[in-house]
């Protein structure tokens, strides 16, 4: 449904995305993850037909039509990262404009406003909206047509808890109805909840393409156990490093990296040595640590 074929985009001799090849099947939800400046938004904008590839192709639909073609854009809805509207218009005027532009029936406007929880404020000028409300209005515009493809650029970044709830409910409903979704996010929770696959971009290159389970395993292996230990025998740290070679300590703080499954053995070892555990916290693997590892692995 969405095909990136050796897609490369360069801005003023600075490569934003390099040689990206990725196929997203109909009905699939794929999260584009990566640190800031990794090329996620550029990739999404290329799929929305907003930027022209420096080389390679971006195709939408089956059979694929180049994303710059208005026919391709008929098959998709796009929600920009920081959506904006003319402030003198009301929410309903904005929705009506895009509804008519897309040739959608009038009833869809009310449905979209309801889904975005804006029904009560749709007749107010946008200048009176909060940032979250503007973002929800953008979401309402993106939800107007039942297009086969949705492209969402950090859709939850400006949403409050109510907006988040409405967003998840709508997107899960659309996903269940077979819509293809490509989205970017810095929130691991969004990605885990919505995505079937995770494309991880680092410095403009596809560094990893993982299923939900594979990503979970990779992150779990990057977890950390932090212990505060008293009365530790002299050889305990060496024995601990045999279990987890990356273990470090600073004063009474011991930091033992490793997957969740290895932690009971660490705790047992400390207890059996006669040391006292004063405190214990466990951290799961973080995306930023994972990105750093990917950069380190590549370089």
């Amino acid at each position: 449904m969405i095909t990136f074929r050796r897609f490369t985009k360069t801005f003023a001799a600075q490569p934003a995305v390099r040689d990206l090849s990725l196929e997203i099947a109909g009905g699939e939800a794929v999260a584009l993850l990566g640190p800031n400046g990794s090329g996620k938004t550029t990739t999404l904008k290329a799929a929305a037909g907003l930027i022209r590839p420096t080389s390679g192709d971006v195709l939408i639909g089956e059979p694929g039509v180049t994303a710059r073609d208005p026919r391709a854009r008929r098959a998709l809805s796009f929600l920009p990262q920081r959506v904006a509207f003319p402030e003198s218009l009301t929410g309903r005027e904005v929705i009506d404009f895009y509804r008519r532009l897309r040739g959608v029936e009038p009833a869809a406007a009310d449905a979209a406003l309801t889904l975005a929880s804006l029904n009560g404020s749709s007749n107010r000028a946008i200048s009176t909206y909060s940032g979250g409300m503007v973002q929800r209005l953008g979401l309402a515009v993106a939800l107007l047509p039942s297009s086969p493809v949705m492209l969402l650029d950090e859709p939850t970044a400006a949403l409050d808890p109510d907006g988040l709830c409405a967003f998840y409910s709508v997107i899960e409903h659309r996903k269940a109805a077979g819509q293809t979704i490509l989205f970017t996010s810095h929130q691991l929770g969004d990605a885990e909840r919505l995505a079937d696959r995770f494309a991880i971009l680092v410095e403009g290159t596809l560094a990893a393409l993982l299923t939900a389970r594979e990503l979970g395993d990779r992150l779990a292996s990057r977890g950390v156990l932090r212990l505060r230990i008293e009365n530790a025998p002299a050889d305990l740290f060496d024995r601990l490093r045999r279990l987890s070679p990356g273990a470090t300590r600073a004063g009474d703080q011991w930091i033992v990296p490793g997957p969740a499954g290895s932690r009971p053995a660490v705790v047992d070892l400390v207890r059996e040595s006669g040391a006292s555990i004063l405190g214990l916290t466990a951290e799961e693997g973080r995306l930023d640590v994972f990105y750093r590892d990917l950069v380190g692995g590549r370089s």
């Binding site: 801005f11 907003l50 930027i51 920009p80 959506v83 904006a84 404009f97 008519r100 532009l101 040739g103």
Partner: protein, 279 residues
């Protein structure tokens, strides 16, 4: 959706936005106030009093129109054609050709600015008609038409200057628009006349003719003066043009053709630039 309905939709949306914009409202008010002031105070310098007739008011208003209308249209147009990044991304991701969106918005802005000028001309026109009758009405209408033509030229130029600019690039587009206005309205004549004074008669005439047609503001000024006062008010550039064309009708046609080129070519170039731009 048909192209015509998209054009209509975009034009009406842009018209609503422009009419609600403070800048357009202020322009309408200031333009009306200045037009009224000019028509009411024209006899003061000659020691008289009362409202001027249409012909004298048109002559007095010409420089004001040439000065204010291009600036307003360039600024309003450049601002409208370089929207916020998020607004541009959402608009241009819709299944409509970018050039169709641009033409629609251009039409809407044009309608809004013409409406604002119509208020100015209309208010002063009503006062003149009530005080001095309809003598010279054709001159006044000619100035109105020239003002509309300048609006179209300036909006086309604004579309080309903005050409897909959005967000942070808006400031640069506005700076370029101001430079274009300054060169076309203020600097151009000085440079053309300065260069001509350095040349012999033949080359100087050719330079001045080219200069008159190459700058739409000069072309409109020449056309208006030709229509209102005949050749008596002409400067050296306009007289050179008149000698070259061999008569006022041909000169007027050449001016109209030149202005049409200045409306159509930048707009086509703007559409092409927008189609190719990364948003």
């Amino acid at each position: 959706m048909t192209t015509a309905s998209v054009l209509w939709l975009c034009a009406s949306q842009e018209l609503v936005l422009a009419m609600r914009a403070r800048a357009t409202q202020i322009f309408a008010l200031v333009f009306a106030a200045l037009a009224l002031a000019v028509s009411a105070s024209g006899y003061i310098l000659s020691g008289g009093s009362g409202v001027q007739d249409f012909a004298r008011t048109a002559t007095s208003l010409t420089e004001l129109v040439l000065f204010v209308v291009p600036m307003m249209a360039l600024l309003v147009g450049t601002t409208a054609f370089s929207p916020d990044q998020g607004a541009a991304e959402l608009l241009f991701s819709q299944p409509v050709a970018r050039r169709t969106l641009m033409w629609g918005r251009l039409l809407g802005l044009f309608a809004a600015l013409v409406a604002a000028q119509a208020i100015g001309f209309g208010v002063s026109g009503l006062v003149i008609f009530s005080q001095s009758g309809q003598d010279g009405l054709a001159s006044f209408l000619l100035l109105g038409a020239a003002s509309v033509a300048l609006t179209a030229v300036s909006l086309s130029a604004a579309a080309l200057i903005a050409g897909g600019s959005a967000g942070r690039r808006r400031a640069r587009a506005l700076a370029i628009a101001l430079c274009v206005w300054f060169v076309a309205v203020v600097l151009y004549d000085l440079v053309a006349l300065g260069l001509a004074s350095l040349l012999r008669s033949g080359p100087a005439s050719r330079l001045l003719i080219t200069a008159t047609l190459a700058n739409p503001v000069d072309a409109v000024r020449t056309g208006v003066l030709l229509g209102i006062q005949g050749t008596s008010a002409f400067g050296s550039a306009s007289l050179a043009l008149l000698r070259f064309t061999g008569g006022t009708t041909r000169a007027a046609l050449l001016i109209v053709a030149g202005v049409m080129v200045w409306i159509v070519v930048p707009a086509l170039a703007a559409a092409r630039r927008l189609e190719r731009a990364d948003i």
